[in-house]
Symmetry: D2
Subunit: 361 residues, 4 copies
């Protein structure tokens, strides 16, 4: 099967490095372009990127030349790790120029015609692309976004519980340092400390983006799920792995056993399709009283699984539990890679296949 | 004014060291006894205690000889930093032998005739001592307990809001390592990690002990406040300072302004009495979006103040905020010292004053 | 090729877990026995071991029953992760009963007839086993020890430089928490802190064990290399990875270029034999001014490589550099596994092969 | 006694905050000016400074207006916490305009006519000011610099040993994060990690600046002490407190007892003069095998003392030991404050006293 040529936008940053790592040896995609800001363009990737991942930089990428941002890149799909301001400027241009854009940026997530997709949760939301192309006048290009890294583990835990009718959620996140990128959080703010604040928008996203992902596709767009979600977001001195404590109430008052069964028997589409990056199982349910822990559980399923533990009754809502996922793998780059795999496996990327490909102009 | 002679039980441990530090130069009390387990007895305090506080051991205590546990100690009051099993064995004996016992242990906190006191919150609960002495047949001795270190900042924040009728609380704690004592948490569990579990009883205490402290004294005991409290307790890699995120609903739906005013104008009894360890103000309300932080706020008011920030509406309950206090000062040793100061200032320790004192036998 | 049955002694501890992980899927060895103290015996490995590695426990080991210590185990070789006192009691017994013992313990390292082996450095020291068996009256069993985890990276860096005649070394180690096992270092000693002390013997070992490994086998034993080595050993808040700063003087005054060339062209026996656990290259020489770093370099070569950087002149001795290795992989369990691979590849374990095997009695 | 009016240059940064804290309530000096870059000028200090010290900002400073940099400030002395490029631009101008400049910057430390002073070590070097004023044509102004924060604890430990003739030193530093200022080291470089590199110049400074401070004043300038000093400088995840391991050889081969006696009996000029910030004793010699530790010892003497421990023979040089000091107090702001106190107590600041003062133009 011919591979589709892909590029990474913002390849030198923290999430860009994850994209590069996850795409370096991918069965569906051929990573042919690393693009970044003018400061990096023209250098080898080895020189341009201050590599911060614990696994070494893939050798064949190290010698690739970083390209400047333009809609003239030799690839069909782009994975965007661009910061907000650059994402605003570029993502739309790439889609208009005929590229498929898989974005980790927040700027388009809440656009009514942009799918915000967790493949296990709402693969059908890709149906929005028809309206997106029609409305924006794009023939081939598109924008698909992945989840916010903090909403992600909570939405994965809630998705199999949707039949029970979740009504209200109070969540407190303990978020890893890598969520702020690099250089990100100053070490003097991180050592021996907690900061009870991420950004003005973080707690809002926990509500709006979660409700969009858990919502229902209709003719016009997505009807949000209508769950009241209140979040307290905190930064803790952990390198990777966002942990979220969750209290939730349900319309149907499931038992703890009902909930565990729903989690453990959940086999959504990516697992059925055996997508290369789909973790099996998608949810790791731990029985120990002291799990999940970031250091021990963030790499479950190659960093793509969500680990859940401490299910117990809640004195105020109905039940409470703790969930955790790797924020720069599943919560960022890996999420977009899985989105691309889902589209590929469903035949939605045929127009981008090698025989069809061209350097878009 | 003659000082009352006091001793510390369990003086070599983490909380015992805090008691020693806080009592070393106290205007009301004369620290004459450091008692600990057989392993330490007979050694100088310098030798016996592996001093872990950042301030050096008070010089005059370093040469004191640690005494073995017995109800024959040359003091009138004892501050107990005993671990649970020893507290069970000894605290009752000390009170029966005529000592006033100020305990940091959890074993007697929920006894119906034992005051569980935060001096700013429920000083009147000391009225239980009458029943305690009568029921247990003690003429002079008594047991008064201080708050659990995690419930403490939350109860301090809720106390001035009681007139608004708090109904339900969901709280998530981010607790410091020193809360587990020494050696306590292994460093391999703490580095680059969070553990979403403290002990089976911790989340229960957040509910029961908070409701007792916020409850109303009646003829027989204390009517709990009747607030539904659900807690998620977590250990984070912070040396000192427990932070708690709180969502709360109220019967009377106060505005955010009402709440801030209640906090900022609160001048409870210890502050009115100008007790030596009473922080002024008792609550430090921060306007910055990223406070309180353990490293920056735990030492407010000499470690005796509670810092509150991030007051904002809650999508599920009514409001949410973040509070923080120093867990081994205000949340442990300092809490008991303030209890003792409160009793002294109210004339409740006259029987223990020097002229009345004896080596209890 | 039939695999040799092997067991792990002290399988539940930190180093024992590493042995289990490294031996779980080994091409030469079949892990059939997990043995530990009475407290663990009879339980499943899942229950008995408080698994602290970030990679999950191998599934087929989780259900194995932990056996009590005895010389009646169904295997031919044992890898010992026993603490000192148990190593003293048991290792000799196992060897006498016909087992091959690969030990990570320090107790026998300096015995004159016991090989202390880093396979890249002194594979010929295995020749001592002839004398060991003769002197101790053992027909099949033996004891081979691996390096101390702190001496290890320094000895790996010095070995290719032996032709230049190293004369004196001053080394300062920054050692990881996992070097102290679990629970090991209390978190209150580790957070925001450095402890300039490991154990009375640690700095001595840096001298004596390094000189033994770098020494020359003669008829009677090993002539130590005669390098003066002075070490300052420190504990730093790092999970894994011992870093050592080294200043060294040489008889032959090599240039920096000579030294780099010696490191980069070094292809010792394990690499020539392509042993399964031998890293390729054995030494990773980094040109960046800020490497090696524990977080970025400890996993080089699957945790089996040594990373060296910052080579520059020394104002007092001749040159200085920084080296680093993973202390529980290459510096402990992985070192012994590589020793066993070396013996297997050289035909020194024929007596233990399946056809020859028996349950020793 | 009239206080001298002083200002802080670069008042909003990490070292500037320490200056503000140490000068807020000073018996000799009246802090009347907080100056900083254009970005901060015009704001209140509370708004302009992102206060990172654990003790709260002094209340009366919080409302002071930060002034822009100019040589028209209403004070006589300035304490410079300027970064290198600004120090180059401004310090000379201030001195030329008649201000006394006490600088923490590195730019002028090695100027032959600029005193680089540790008051306990080389108070006589202030004699250079005569040449400085003559050579530069300044009538009242001057520049006096304090020590590099890493050289400082080592120089303090070596100073009383100068009679024994130290010949060569190999030192390895474990430096705190605050040494890099704020935001400084990214948290992803600090967590679970060590970085064996500070800056190209750091290891050079350990040699040249130490030799200048320990050198002898002659007619023309300072003869360096002529000690060969080789340093390995490392960043460790510690908030405050630089620890240095030291091996040293001596001409006169003092015994360990001689060395301890020299340290313990050392009573240099600042202690004799009882300067307000002079710690008593200047050197805290610890007998425990595991001290000094940053968390436990950095605040000795109010952060102004140097703690020494682990004195023992060195196999390569003569002896080795470990020393530690608070890098932003004694190693930076506090060092300059003590320099100023020394000059004041010796009558070298009479020209700046209130009766003589003016707003320099």
């Amino acid at each position: 099967m011919p591979k589709i040529r892909v590029g990474v936008l913002g390849a030198t940053g923290a999430v860009g490095q994850r994209f590069a790592q996850l795409l370096a040896h991918h069965p569906y995609f051929d990573l042919t372009v690393l693009a970044a800001s003018d400061r990096s363009a023209g250098k080898s990737y080895r020189e341009a990127a201050n590599w911060i991942l614990t696994e070494p930089m893939p050798a064949h990428l190290a010698e690739m030349t970083v390209q400047e941002m333009s809609t003239n890149l030799s690839c069909e799909l782009v994975f965007s790790a661009l910061p907000t301001n650059f994402a605003k400027e570029w993502e739309h241009q790439f889609a208009a120029a005929g590229y498929g854009v898989f974005s980790n940026a927040g700027v388009h997530r809440m656009d009514s015609d942009v799918p915000l997709v967790l493949p296990e949760v709402n693969p059908d939301h890709l149906g929005l692309l028809k309206q997106q192309r029609a409305g924006r006048g794009w023939s081939r290009g598109f924008i698909v976004t992945n989840s916010n890294c903090t909403a992600m583990p909570m939405v994965m835990a809630l998705a199999p519980l949707m039949p029970f009718g979740p009504q209200a959620v109070i969540a407190t996140s303990l978020q890893a340092l890598s969520g702020a990128g690099y250089p990100g959080v100053p070490s003097l703010d991180a050592i021996d400390n907690v900061v009870p604040f991420i950004a003005e928008s973080e707690e809002v996203k926990m509500n709006t983006e979660s409700n969009k992902m858990l919502g229902r596709l209709n003719g016009q767009g997505v009807d949000p799920a209508g769950i009241k979600i209140s979040a307290h977001c905190n930064r803790v001195p952990v390198s990777d792995g966002h942990l979220v404590t969750v209290s939730v109430s349900f319309r149907d008052k499931p038992s703890l056993g009902d909930i565990v069964e729903a989690w453990q028997t959940w086999q959504p589409l990516p697992q059925q399709l055996q997508l290369p990056s789909a973790p099996q199982p998608p949810l790791v349910v731990r029985a120990e009283s002291n799990r999940p822990q970031p250091r021990l559980d963030r790499d479950a399923g190659g960093g793509m699984a969500t680990t859940i533990g401490r299910l117990r009754p809640c004195e105020v809502l109905d039940v409470r539990f703790v969930c955790l996922a790797h924020n720069t793998i599943r919560g960022a780059a890996g999420g977009s890679v899985l989105n691309a795999e889902l589209m590929a496996a469903q035949g939605m990327l045929e127009a981008f296949k090698a025989e069809a490909s061209h350097v878009p102009a």
